[in-house]
Every structure is written in C-alpha cells, then in structure tokens.
C-alpha cells in the first residue's frame, strides 16, 4: 500500500515542481527533511522509553486484566454473537485496554490476536462477521487516555501547556467512537453477509 502512495507522492510532487518552477525549493526541502526526521525520532525516543516501560509495569501489575473485567458488560451489547466464555472476549478486552492506555505497538499484536479469535467464532469465513467489523471500527476509533505522541509534538512546537488539549481529545474520541458504533450497527442491517 505504502509502495504506491510513496511513488504517487514523489511523482506528483516533482511534476508539480517542474510546472510551478520550484525545483530548487524541492532540493532544499528534501535535504532538510532528513534532519527533521532525525530530530523528530530523537525527541520521541525518551518518551517512547518512558511509556513502554510504564506499560510493561502495568501489564505485570495486572492492571490490564482488571480493565478487561471492567469492559465485560459493554461486550454483551457490542459483540452479541460471541459465546460467553470464548477466548475472543479476553483477547478483545486486552486489545481495547492496550488502546486506551496508548500502548501503540503493543496494541497492534493484541488487536490481531483478537481479530483471529473472532475469525474462529466466524468459522474462518472469507466474509467478515458483524462482530469482526464492530471490533475493527471500535479499535480504529478507540479513546486514548494519554495521547503521548501528540503531547510530545506539541511540546516540541513550543506549547506552554501541551496537555491542555487532552479534554478536547477525549470528547472528540468519544463522539468518533459513538458515531462508529452507530454506523456499524446501522450498516450491518443493509450489508448482510452473502451465502
């Protein structure tokens, strides 16, 4: 996917540059971008260490599992098709908790595991079940309690109070989540699995 996007971006950029006569600006910008990306990663490095370390501690302390238990009630509504004691329940809870805590790269493997469990409930069909679509939507819309990447970039840009946007982000995420759940519940009635 990124292979095509990358080629299109560079092709469109250079062609436009020829047409607008901005080739020297492009040359400067490319060389400068390498320095910028290293600066960005260096700034993120420390915070990545801090949060990955803390999340490891949270997992070992059982906080992730406690969150999983808290979420059980909501699952009855979101994923009515899953049998009560199926391992898919635990896998989804782990994945959503990881999203909430902003575990980032730890959240992705957990999400994949949960989707595989949901696929088993769906007899490994080639057509997604309602629960699988709902899980995908909820996961992509999930509220992150501490949006660390955004906070780091705000700090880097000279914000006097980087975390002042956290309440706005929570409200916007919640609206996104509710719209996603509503859209999935609504569209599943019109988009029935064939066969």
């Amino acid at each position: 996917m990124l292979n095509i996007i990358w080629v299109i971006m560079i092709f469109a950029g250079v062609i436009t540059g020829i047409l607008t006569g901005r080739m020297s600006e492009i040359s400067d910008a490319v060389l400068e971008s390498c320095i910028n990306s290293v600066n960005l990663v260096i700034t993120m490095l420390g915070s990545m260490c801090l949060w990955s370390g803390l999340m490891k501690a949270a997992q070992k302390a059982g906080l992730v599992n406690s969150l999983a238990k808290l979420l059980k009630g909501i699952f009855r509504f979101l994923f009515p098709g899953i049998p009560k004691d199926h391992p898919a329940n635990g896998a989804i809870a782990m994945s959503i908790s990881a999203d909430l805590l902003g575990l980032g790269n730890a959240a992705t493997p957990l999400g994949i595991m949960a989707m595989k469990e949901l696929s088993k409930v769906n007899n490994d069909s080639t057509v997604a079940s309602n629960a699988m679509v709902m899980f995908g939507v909820v996961n992509a819309a999930c509220i992150q309690l501490i949006p660390s990447t955004v906070l780091i970039i705000r700090q880097q840009a000279g914000s006097s109070n980087p975390s002042s946007v956290i309440p706005c982000i929570w409200v916007a995420s919640f609206i996104s989540l509710v719209s996603g759940i509503t859209a999935a519940k609504f569209l599943e009635k019109f988009n029935l699995p064939k066969g």
């Binding site: 996917m1 501690a57 997604a128 699988m132």
Partner: protein, 174 residues
C-alpha cells in the same frame, strides 16, 4: 474549565503513580520491568526512523512543490462555507490514509500556526482523537481469511470524520 485543567494537569502524573504503586504492591520488581519495557520502546523508536525519513522526505517534496497548497485551496472554499477552517484541510484529507504522513504534516503545521492557537489546538485534537483507519483495518483483517470486509471501511470513515469535524467545534467550547 477549572475541572478540565485539573484533569489535564493530573492525568499524566496520576497514571504514572497508579501504575508504579500498583506494580509495587503486587510485588513486581518495578524498575527492572520498567527498564525491560523501555528498552523495547527504544527499539521501536529506532525502527520508526527509516519510515519517518521516507515519508517526511516525500511530504516535503509535496509541500515544496506547492501541490498541497493547490489541493488545499481547491477544497478550502467549500470547507469555509460550512465553518471548517481551511488550515485543517491537509490533515482532514490525509489523516485516515497515512499515519506517518499526517504526523509529518501535523508537526510542520504546529510550528507554522503555533501549538497554543485555536488552529493548533484543533489540529492536536484531530491527531489525538483519530486513527489511520485504512492501515488499522488492513493490518487486522489481513491476519484472517477475510476477503469481504463488508461495511468496515464505510463505518470507520464515518467514525473518523465525525470525530475530526467534532474537534473543530469542541475546541471553540473547551
């Protein structure tokens, strides 16, 4: 407002305290576990570097060529009509499709407009509350046999754009 400031000031130290305390009370060797996780975090950050260089280089070509400006000016007039600031157009266009590209645009724009201005806060809220839905869905469904994802993309895009549009109004109120 006081409550909101309280929440945003206390959320990070609060979460850190709860995690460390809970782990300690459970008898977890907190610092050792922290170092173990932090090392993984460092690896992740370094693994991101090549992707960042590639994407930021391509985004900088697009920016310097003036193409993003041309596209943005095409959609900004219709967007302004329904009350959406034109400065948010690039992020609105690219956010659901590329996480690293939108991150690049976001950090560039934050420097241009300032992090604490209305536009800066809207951009931060959009970035913090939305996800690269196409990437996420591709990765998750890619791990299964599913060929037909049904309404997954449509519902995710609705969810994403509702959140992004809401950000523009929420930042006026909060």
């Amino acid at each position: 407002m006081i409550l909101m400031n309280f929440i945003s000031d206390f959320s990070i130290p609060g979460v850190i305290l709860i995690i460390v305390l809970a782990a300690y009370l459970k008898g977890v060797p907190v610092f050792d576990v922290f170092i173990e996780g932090a090392r993984e975090g460092a690896e992740t950050a370094f693994n991101i570097l090549p992707t960042m260089v590639g994407i930021i280089a391509a985004v900088s070509i697009l920016n310097a060529s003036g193409l993003i400006d041309i596209l943005t000016s095409l959609v900004s007039k219709p967007l302004e009509l329904i009350g959406i600031p034109s400065e948010t157009a690039p992020i609105l266009l690219i956010r659901p499709f590329s996480g690293s590209a939108s991150l690049g645009i976001f950090s560039e724009q934050l420097k241009t407009y300032g992090a604490d201005t209305y536009i800066g806060r809207v951009l931060s809220t959009i970035m913090g509350s939305s996800e690269t839905v196409l990437y996420t869905l591709a990765v998750y469904f890619g791990a299964t046999n599913v060929k037909d994802t049904r309404h997954a993309v449509a519902a995710s895009l609705i969810s994403s754009y509702m959140g992004m549009l809401a950000s523009i109004y929420i930042c006026k109120i909060l």
